[in-house]
């Protein structure tokens, strides 16, 4: 019997073409659109999408449900501010260094929080984020509790800064979507997916669960730090509450859970929905947040695979071909294999 293995589906080929077109359209946007507000919104969108996608890697694939990723958003943001304001580093290099430094700090952090498991891990990471927040708030040279502005950018013309920030965001979006896709198709990704499906079975196949988780924790936290750096490069102002605060947590829960956890498409869909809801209803303030809370409870209880899960169940659509599909081509007439 012969067989072929294919990964691409009709939908994924179409999605790749559409993705390439979208990428070209967005990357050239500053030259055919003058709406700087929209560019700012895209930057924010990409940062949140990236942070959500990284959280999805941890929670949806690594089985590491963290309530403390805001620790790394904050570290990335503050690293940027210190590098630019105090050390005079070129801002876009500082964004990269912000991500790198965050990954470095994620390693010792992991060694502490990995001592907790399951739900305890979740709250333990939250404590760690609070430790970073309180620590930064106590350091006078970082601006203390009230934070500081990114003054080191004054030398760069506003227009150039906005376009450069925007293009950096487009590059980050490629990392957050295509990079995650490639990662999931790599050996590390297979190990992660195996752990997601069954930790015991993965271990029995020779996967070092602890090391795999450590690797994904450091990678996801580093990229989260990168997004944090870029976010505050765009926001131009940082404070411990904005950087390390709890406002980030519902964002992750809502975008990833509502969109569909454990898929590449889910967080994209979730972040899109979050932005649509926010731009439409955020004027309702607390009621808007109450509705988001209720929506996430309802999705978790009645459609735990999220919106993308619902789409997949009805259409079998897969835009990112992570799975391998085996086609049996022929079986000889005698029925022997």
């Amino acid at each position: 019997m012969t067989y072929t293995v294919r990964r691409a589906t009709q939908a994924s080929k179409l999605a790749a073409a559409a993705g390439a077109l979208l990428l070209v359209a967005f990357a050239t946007l500053p030259w055919w659109s003058s709406s700087r507000d929209f560019m700012q919104l895209v930057v924010e969108f990409v940062c949140i999408l990236t942070i959500a996608q990284m959280w999805n890697l941890l929670a949806g694939y690594g089985g590491l449900i963290s309530i403390g990723q805001q620790a790394f958003i904050g570290i990335g943001g503050y690293t940027l501010v210190v590098l630019v304001n105090n050390l005079g580093v070129e801002p876009f290099l500082a964004v990269l260094l912000g991500g790198a430094f965050t990954a470095v700090l994620a390693l010792p952090t992991a060694l502490v929080v990995f001592r907790l498991r399951g739900a305890y891990f979740a709250i333990g990471t939250w404590v760690v984020a609070e430790v970073y927040r309180l620590f930064v708030a106590n350091l006078a040279f970082l601006g203390g509790g009230s934070g500081q502005s990114l003054i080191g950018l004054a030398a760069i013309p506003v227009d150039l800064r906005q376009i450069a920030t925007y293009e950096t965001a487009i590059a980050l979006a490629v990392v957050a979507i295509f990079g995650v896709f490639l990662l999931l198709r790599s050996p590390l990704g297979f190990a992660l997916t195996a752990i997601r499906d069954s930790e015991v079975a993965a271990e029995s196949q020779g996967i070092d669960v602890w090391r795999t988780r450590l690797a994904i924790y450091v990678i996801a936290s580093g990229v989260t730090g990168l997004a944090g750096s870029l976010y505050f490069l765009s926001a131009l102002r940082i404070s411990p509450d904005a950087a390390f605060g709890m406002n980030w947590i519902p964002l992750l829960f809502f975008t990833v859970v509502i969109g569909g956890i454990g898929t590449v498409e889910g967080p994209i869909l979730g972040t899109l929905l979050y932005f649509v809801l926010r731009q439409t209803f955020s004027g309702f303030g607390t009621w808007y947040l109450i509705a988001l809370g209720a929506l996430s409870i309802a999705i978790m209880l009645f459609a735990p695979t999220g919106l993308w899960g619902l789409v997949q169940r009805t259409t079998k659509l897969r835009l990112f071909p992570i799975q391998s599909i085996v086609n049996l081509n022929s079986v000889n007439p005698s029925g022997e294999l």
Partner: protein
């Protein structure tokens, strides 16, 4: 800084933390559920006491008693309607559901009471104190400590010396087998949630008297409760109580050194315990 005084105040603060922690520990002990909204329930209880005392012209003590009963009923209903649906699968569902509750409670309180701070006023008792030699100890902190101690004794007895406690422990070990032995697990989980929220309402009262509270305080109370449980070593209410006292002393000492370092010192002691002794200081089960 007077060391003895600081440590005594810290131990008494630990009494309040123990009340925060025991409600969380009951639910976790029986259902393996971490209630992220736990701290928000503490805050919600205090607001309810405030409203009941004001509208019905009752003393805060009477209002507290009403809310304890109300919360026990709320706990049972919440478990049977929402929380139970989140149990049994992976970890994510209970975390997301209770986090959703947390967001709903916090923003609901913002909507109803604004972000202004409030407190429960109980008159002269708030500031009354007794002197032990050079150290003045407030009556209220002593009362909190006494109540927390009584709750710890009560819960230990309930779990270890009553048929209900035996059923709790059996279900915690193995829900399916306990059910086969005739334990009505759904109802039992409801009782555990009722006890948890009842204890939480006690914590609400003493928190409301001690602090001026705002709708956003919940998460920090959750973290204190969680830290107390982990420091103590999971599995016994004595451990949780001791963990709470250690956390209280750590925070008070940190605060005496520099007001900005109080809460941070508590967190750091928690992390230190985690690194040095991840099973907690007084684990019941030795692995």
């Amino acid at each position: 800084m007077n060391w003895v005084d600081t440590i005594v105040q810290g131990i008494l603060l630990g009494g309040l933390f123990a009340l925060f922690a025991m409600g969380l520990a009951v639910i976790y002990g029986v259902m393996r559920l971490i209630n992220i909204a736990h701290g928000d329930f503490v805050v919600l209880g205090a607001y309810l006491m405030l409203s009941i005392a004001l509208t019905a012209h009752l003393s805060p003590f009477a209002a507290a008693a009403i809310v304890v009963v109300l919360f026990a009923v709320l706990g049972y209903v919440l478990q049977r309607t929402i929380l139970d649906r989140a149990l049994g699968g992976d970890l994510l569902a209970p975390l997301v559901v209770t986090y959703g509750l947390s967001v709903i409670i916090e923003n609901g309180l913002q909507q109803a009471y604004s972000a202004d701070s409030h407190s429960l006023q109980i008159g002269a008792l708030e500031t009354a104190s007794v002197h032990f030699g050079p150290i003045a100890v407030g009556i209220m902190p002593l009362l909190v400590f006494g109540v927390a101690l009584a709750v710890a004794v009560g819960l230990e007895l309930l779990f270890n010396a009553t048929p209900l406690g035996m059923a709790f422990r059996a279900t915690s070990d193995d829900r399916a087998t306990a059910r086969l032995m005739g334990v009505r697990d759904f109802q039992l989980y409801g009782y555990a949630a009722a006890i948890s929220l009842g204890v939480t309402a006690l914590a609400s009262f003493f928190m409301g008297v001690k602090y001026t509270f705002t709708p956003t305080l919940g998460p920090s109370f959750l973290l204190y409760a969680f830290e107390a449980i982990v420091i103590g070593g999971m599995g016994s209410f004595w451990g949780t109580f001791t963990g709470a006292v250690i956390l209280g002393v750590a925070q008070t000492i940190g605060f005496a050194i520099d007001p900005g370092w109080g809460i941070l010192t508590g967190h750091l002691v928690f992390l230190a315990v985690l690194v040095v002794r991840p099973q907690g200081l007084f684990p019941k089960v030795v692995a």
